[in-house]
Amino acid sequence: MTTSLSHVTLSYGNKKIINDLSISFQDASFNLLIGASGIGKSTFLRVLAGFYPQLKGEVIADNTIVDNLPANQRARHVGMLFQDPNTQFAMPTPFDELVFTLENLQVPQERIQAEAQRAIDFVGINQLSNLKINTLSGGEKQKVALAVIVAMQSKVLLLDEPFANIDQPSRRYLLKKVKQLQADGTTIIVVDHDLSGYEDLANQVWLMADQTIQAISESDFKKRLPTKQVFDFAVPTRGAFVCDDLKVSVGDRKLFSIQHLLLAAAGITLLTGDNGTGKSTLFNALTRLKDYEGEIAYLDRDISKLKVPSYLKEVALVFQNSEKQYLRMTVDEELALSLQQTRHPENWQPEAVAAYLQRLNMSGLGDHIVYQLSGGQKKKLQLFVMLIMETPVLLLDEPLAGLDFQSVRQVAAILREIADRKRQRFVIISHQLDQLLPVVDFYLRLENQTLHYQERLS
């Protein structure tokens, strides 16, 4: 059995993404692929998945040339888990999605129920199987997506940053399941920016740079791993928000309730909690996108009584899905809109903007269509246009998802600088703690259906 690429070249317009690449992966091996964001890792996985049939070169997965295979035959050889959990479902419920997939693969009717159940049991999502997919959290969706691939019995499993939006317990759980698949003979290729947890899992680490991919040694990889530390945090005594007797639910499901909580104190607050506990929903309540019971006051005024347009100039949200943020077509137009509307134009002279773009490695993208940027570039642009707005409070929902190591460091540093100049207060939902913890003032945890501040984390 072989999985390999020989002499593959791929360009977007006149920009070469992959240049005459030949690479081969060992059978039933666990491979980690790393590299800066926007370098073409997702594209590489899509090539392997056979999404570019017009390609120069040859793509072999599981001993079969996949780039010309119809989708229903290809699925038996290659399965892919996408970065965006919303990209992967065509049906309303997990069970329907499994049935749809098995029907596509022409599994006989009498075996569909059993095979779907086997996949559900393997990933352990029995309690989710008949819920509506669009009410599931990001981590739950990824579990469902994995179950579909288990049902397809693909011999090669490609994972495109599947853990970018999910909590550590879910991430560890999914990685364990993936490792189990490898033990059963599946070849695993995973792209991830968060390197923790892979040192015991990966057989081989690959680095993508300069339009090609090379293996890196174990010692080289170890140098990139984060070090463990102990962090102390303050507990706020004042906050822009005061929540009293707040209760938030989705449908019939109660997410959390709060008796009394101060939120968005000057500085940076990190909000963590397992998937599906309601972190994003809290942000939606704070920005009036979601109804709630109880009271939320912003600067002593009940937010349900404030005029929405003027309130949203004070409290803004960086959406988890970057495309929701965009209002214009190109990078320059997006920047121009924010520069025109910012509360403090004096802080955003052209040199200052250029310097930030440089730090974010976003220079020279001016005329690119925002929807065609890579996942990481989209995130950085989205964040930057909201920083320019300088709303007094900015809520950030997974701003680091899909960013490479360098970008995460830059973003963390930029947020700290802006917070130190008392220009904006940040509340950040994130699962990538390594770079954030050193710059955070307050650590807020959502668990057991309520929120509380934590003073120490080790």
Binding site: A49, P70, A71, N72, R74, A75, G79, M80, F82, D84, N86, T87, Q88, F89, A90, M91, P92, E97, V99, F100, T101, L102, E103, N104, L105, Q106, V107, P108, Q109, I112, Q113, N134, V148, M152, T287, R288, L289, V308, P309, L312, K313, A316, L317, F319, E323, K324, Q325, Y326, L327, L337, S338, Q341, Y371, V385, M386, M389, T391
Partner: protein, 216 residues
């Protein structure tokens, strides 16, 4: 399941509706409306829907009555007024009682419509309930950038089209990566059959209508 196969029901209602357009006898209209009312009553809809069915046709019926009575003949006015009633009830007999998933399953399995069409429709139907929230999010995203979008704003329109295009390409990626192939054979977990009883009932109803046309 005891309900009639949804494609057969669809075809029956389609034939009846077409025939109604060329029949100029209000008594036939009343016979069809009567049969439809019996079916709707037997279907145990909610009170809200029954009230809707009583009050919805009133204004268009009065409109048809007055305009045809004033500018045409009284005979014509009766036909047009009852025709509106028939169309409202036939429409309700289909849309209030048909499970869309079942209809699409049946169209795929019994009538072999292209699967791309079937699953495209399924996707579109699941997208409809989300449209309202998506539009709210667009407007909120705009307000956060100091831009106010009116409900009729071309920008809002443009952005919604963009979102649905992104969504449709995502849907097709999702389908393909889960093995969906255009025109390829698929197996079916829920087999949909057309029972003989359904065809007999549909034929009997059609015959009754023809008898009404001939003898009334």
């Amino acid at each position: 399941m005891n309900a009639m196969n949804p494609s057969i029901k669809f075809i029956l209602i389609l034939i009846v509706s077409l025939e109604i357009t060329v029949i100029l006898d209000y008594r036939v209209n009343l016979v069809v409306a009567g049969c439809t009312i019996i079916y709707l009553l037997a279907s145990r809809l909610s009170w809200y829907r029954y009230l809707l069915l009583i009050f919805l046709p009133i204004i268009p019926m009065l409109g048809a009555w007055t305009s045809f009575n004033t500018f045409g003949s009284r005979e014509m006015a009766w036909v047009m007024m009852t025709r509106i009633l028939v169309y409202v009830y036939l429409g309700a007999a289909f849309s209030f009682t048909t499970d869309m998933d079942w209809l699409l399953d049946s169209l795929e399995q019994n009538f072999h419509l292209p699967t791309v069409f079937i699953y495209g429709l399924r996707g579109a139907l699941s997208f409809v309930p989300r449209v309202k929230q998506e539009i709210k999010v667009i407007r909120v995203a705009a307000m956060m950038r100091g831009v106010k979008m009116a409900p009729y704003s071309p920008q809002l329109f443009f952005k919604s089209i963009l979102i649905s295009m992104r969504w449709s390409s995502r849907l097709s990626t999702a389908m393909i990566s889960h093995g969906f192939t255009e025109n390829a054979p698929r197996t079916h977990f829920k087999k949909v059959v057309i029972k003989k009883r359904d065809i007999v009932i549909a034929s009997v109803l059609l015959v009754v209508m023809q008898l009404a046309v001939v003898f009334l």
